[in-house]
Amino acid sequence: MNKITAHATLAIADIASLAACYYVYVEWENLKRQILTASDIIRIQDGMGVYVATLIVPVIHMATFFEWQRAAKRWGNRILILFLFLFGFGVFTLGDIFERKLEAVGYRYCFEKSEMMTFSEFKAYVKVGAQCSKSE
């Protein structure tokens, strides 16, 4: 793969990464709206932090532009280390944040209504006291 193709490929990945973060934002807003309207059931994909973690792709891509500059390289590495920490934080805690928010406003996880896909689970939360069964 030549450098131009590599840059073009990573540019597409950069856009996809930003789109993924926007998707998380939209889902968060949807979640808040559904809580406000007191929806009986709220469905959310588990492990949303993975989408946020894709921001590492544009970071690495940007770092490749400045590799020839020593100072930028040093800072690039520091940013990369910081981002690795954020990645771990995002992946393991964002889902928990979503779940805690739902539990705080009176929803509970319902296995029966949740849907298992190939790689992830679309978790369903129902209001406390509401019936949680497949038949509904």
């Binding site: 590599a6 840059h7 990573l10 990945a13 792709v57 590495n77």
Partner: protein
């Protein structure tokens, strides 16, 4: 008054609790307490775990790489006389695995550590293979345990799972190769592969859910089965009924069917 107390006492002694369930709730309550249900829940968890298996293995490789080369460990890919080499920057004496400066890209040490294009791609292929080895048996297990699952669902789900794994592996391979072309950071391509691998997999799941690809495939398989085997069964039943009727009514058997 004493009569009231007596009646009250007698009622309390003979009190009974009656729970009224719908048929579905009763079946669900029964399923929940059986080993089938527990096994089903376990397989669901295992399914999500299967996705993380390759990511965890790759993360372990990244940790090993960082220990060996440092977070900012650098490698340069060089092609000399048609053979690709991986050249390590820094002092070779400080390293315990890569004790010389230059290795062939296909060297087992380099491939094991997923360094360079060959190494990362090898890691992606083995990750996809592990995912397939875990996801397909889990699908079969779900099919065996779940009474409501049909063969069409098993085939449809497995087919989309394999396509998703293939697409994710191809996209990740492309991104890792592009990163390896542009950066000298040793861990860069593998970190991109891990993050992009998970994100692409999750994204494909979200798209599948939104557009109902798996459900559409299962429906198409059901329809196809209904139009072929189902139709054949119906025709056989019709012929059988006609023959029975002819036998019962003393008419020439097979008339209007075979001749």
């Amino acid at each position: 008054m004493p009569n009231t107390v007596t009646i009250k006492n007698r009622l309390q002694q003979n009190s009974q609790v009656i729970d009224i369930f719908s048929v579905e709730d009763l079946i669900e309550a029964w399923e929940r307490t059986t080993s089938k249900r527990i096994a089903h829940e376990m397989s669901s968890t295992a399914r999500v775990g299967a996705n993380y298996a390759s990511a965890i293995l790759d993360s372990h490789t990244v940790v090993k790489m960082v220990k060996e080369l440092g977070v900012d460990g650098k490698v340069i890919l060089k092609t000399v006389k048609g053979r690709q080499y991986v050249v390590f920057k820094g002092y070779a004496g400080k390293r315990s695995i890569f004790t010389t400066v230059r290795y062939l890209a296909s060297n087992p040490k380099v491939v094991d550590m997923a360094i360079g294009k060959v190494g990362v791609n090898q890691s992606i292929i083995s990750g996809a293979r592990i995912t397939i080895f875990l996801v397909v048996p889990i699908n079969v297990l779900n099919y065996i345990l779940d009474d409501h699952k049909t063969m069409a669902q098993l085939i449809g789900e497995t087919a989309t799972d394999l396509v998703k794994i293939g697409v994710a592996a191809a996209v990740v391979s492309l991104l890792a190769t592009a990163t390896a072309t542009l950066t000298t950071l040793a861990a860069g391509p593998l970190v991109v592969a891990i993050v992009a691998g998970l994100a692409v997999a999750y994204g494909l799941d979200a798209l599948d859910k939104k557009f109902g690809v798996t459900n559409a495939l299962v429906k198409a398989l059901n329809d196809a089965r209904d139009k072929t085997i189902g139709e054949m069964k119906r025709q056989f039943n019709q012929v059988e009924r006609r023959l029975k009727w002819q036998v019962e009514n003393g008419e020439p058997v097979g008339q209007g069917v075979f001749y």
